[in-house]
């Protein structure tokens, strides 16, 4: 006789020591709760980033207190501050040095779109050189806003297709030379 309501709780007498789940869910769960940020602290937003890491707005609650200045060991590059043209190749180079999987958070107005600096020396948004996952607005964004952005990043990581990416060795195939690329060319 089948009971009217199925009981989906984990019962160790029946299932033993085995938990069955989707591999994507497990991998994403692990990844999103230990995102190690690489602080690309350039200007004033870096001070708010330091405030997020300090004791009042503890980023350690999310597992992200490990600010790894070495890109090899980091997961998420938080671009905080104005990106100038002089600094742009360095930001790109550090992004290239990060290992997969990696994400980018554009923190603040200057990193998202150039902010209030519409001048000859400022890159109008870091998304012209790196792919950005989360934009956090504000000048500077409140620490709570940055934490909210990081939580949205966690949600985004939760929806990734981790297994497909892992099995697909050539996951970053460049667009073919004859096809126009999806990103638009940037104008000064």
């Amino acid at each position: 006789m089948v009971p009217a309501q199925q009981n989906y709780a984990y019962n160790s007498k029946i299932e033993g020591d085995i938990v069955v789940s989707r591999l994507d869910a497990v991998i994403n769960w692990i990844r999103k709760h230990s995102v190690w940020p690489m602080p690309m602290g350039l200007a004033c937003c870096a001070i708010e980033l330091m405030a997020v890491a300090a004791s009042r707005f503890d980023i350690s609650r999310f597992g992200m207190e490990v600010m790894r200045f070495s890109p090899r060991q980091a997961d998420c590059m938080i671009v905080s501050g104005t990106v100038t043209y002089k600094m742009a190749p360095i930001v790109r180079r550090i992004y290239d040095q990060m290992a997969e999987p990696k994400w980018v958070v554009a923190m603040g107005a200057c990193a998202s779109t150039g902010g209030m600096y519409r001048s000859y020396a400022v890159l109008q948004g870091v998304d012209r050189i790196v792919p950005v996952d989360v934009y956090v607005s504000g000048c500077p964004p409140r620490p709570e806003a940055l934490l909210d952005g990081l939580m949205k990043l966690q949600d985004k990581i939760g929806t990734e297709r981790a297994m497909t990416n892992l099995l697909n060795a050539d996951m970053h195939s460049a667009p073919k030379a004859d096809k126009p690329a999806a990103t638009e060319t940037a104008q000064a």
């Binding site: 690309m40 350039l42 001070i47 100038t84 600094m87 001048s119």
Partner: protein
């Protein structure tokens, strides 16, 4: 090839490198611009002989945002948010310095309440900047606790400033001719209570670092800057005072009512990194004293120059009801505060040094040329002279003791 590795003191070593006597081949090492110890985007091109630095060439400009060119296209009030982001650790101080420069151009005098509020803002900014400077200095030397303690106090300052002007930092609180708004009710009481807690934390910082053997070993007699060198390289502020130059614009050329306050100016004797730390620590205590005096004697009255018709916006109730004030408001917003022709140069004692604004105006509401003299720009130019001869691990200590900010250096 020299095999004797006992190089003696730094002066001998530095002299050896100038003569070209090295123990082996030199290695070029690039430090920065993305580096935790460089306090921002500073790049140091180092030449190393083993662990010792033989040449140091700083490369700045990674945060150059074109503020001076932007200023030629903005009215004076529109430029105030850009001044926030110069020394972004003490934005209120930059705001005050800029409007004081423009008011000097206009020949405006401020009522006593506005001056007292400005002094209070400057000193809060000074406290905030020194706290971060010394906290991060401790972190660079290896003491994480100092960083956490300082940031806790800074969060209290942020709460106060947020109640005052709406933003934690990047305040844009001043306008030409006054402030944006008056002090909120009960705010001065909170500031007074805050000074007691801040005094306890500064004492804690003192206990943690000042007689700490590791800190002393790392900073005592490191990178001595002599008085002549400091003068020659344009040093101002706490760095200059640590080298024995007894200059403080608040005391010697008072602005904004500073002559009415009672405070002492600490002076160093040796000019090493430890002296620069001690001078800043004592300055924090003196700053708390000034803040208490401001709270005690805050005068009543207007927080803006009431007779500055073409410069400060009239209050909203008049603007919405009276024709003349409406036109005034319109002209001020579109064309900016009208300034006479001429040029001024005004410097104020900011936490990092003397921040100067050189304004050349051809009349109208937009400056013709605005030059920002950032103290960190001048302080960094001495690096090629004082770093060679020291080890690479001394570099974070030297950089931290100079307490510079790249926003001010690169503008």
């Amino acid at each position: 090839m020299k095999t004797d590795y006992s190089f003696g003191d730094t002066q001998t070593r530095a002299a050896l490198y100038e003569d070209g006597e090295l123990a082996g081949e030199t290695m070029t090492l690039n430090m920065g611009p993305s580096h935790p110890a460089t306090h921002g985007v500073l790049r140091l091109e180092l030449e190393l002989d083993g662990d010792y630095v033989t040449k140091c060439d700083p490369v700045v400009g990674y945060l150059h945002r074109g503020d001076e060119k932007i200023a030629e296209n903005m009215t004076y009030n529109q430029f105030v948010p850009y001044t926030d982001r110069l020394d972004y650790l003490a934005p209120l101080a930059n705001n005050v310095t800029f409007v004081l420069a423009v008011e000097k151009l206009a020949g405006l005098d401020m009522p006593p309440r506005a001056e007292c509020i400005r002094v209070l803002c400057c000193e809060l900014a000074r406290l905030s900047s020194h706290l971060l400077g010394m906290g991060v200095y401790g972190m660079d030397a290896g003491a994480w606790t100092a960083f956490m303690y300082c940031f806790t106090v800074r969060e209290q300052i942020y709460t106060l400033i947020e109640e005052l002007c709406g933003a934690r930092f990047t305040t844009s609180y001043t306008r030409i001719g006054g402030m944006t708004r008056d002090l909120p009710d009960g705010w001065l009481e909170k500031v007074r209570r805050f000074t007691d807690e801040a005094a306890k934390t500064i004492d804690d910082l003192d206990k943690l670092m000042t007689r700490n053997k590791v800190f002393l070993d790392r900073t005592k007699d490191v990178a001595v800057i002599s008085r002549e060198d400091a003068l020659a390289y344009g040093f101002t502020g706490a760095n200059a005072r640590a080298s024995g130059i007894d200059l403080d614009l608040r005391r010697d050329k008072p602005y904004c009512g500073y002559e009415n306050y009672d405070f002492e100016v600490p002076l160093g004797s040796v000019g090493d990194c430890y002296d620069r730390y001690l001078v800043r620590l004592e300055e924090m205590r003196q700053t708390l004293g000034i803040i208490r005096q401001c709270c005690d004697r805050m005068p009543d009255g207007a927080w803006f120059a009431e007779d500055a018709k073409k410069i400060y916006k009239p209050t909203k109730d008049k603007v919405l009801t009276s024709m003349e004030e409406l036109i005034q408001n319109f002209m001020l917003v579109t064309e900016g505060p009208q300034m006479p022709k001429g040029e001024v140069y005004f410097e104020a004692e900011n936490p990092k040094g003397w921040l100067g604004f050189f304004i050349h105006s051809k009349g109208g509401g937009v400056p013709y040329r605005l030059k920002i003299r950032g103290p960190s720009f001048c302080n960094l130019s001495i690096l090629p002279k004082i770093v060679p001869g020291w080890m690479m691990s001394d570099i974070p200590i030297i950089l931290g003791s100079l307490d510079f900010v790249l926003g001010e250096c690169d503008r």
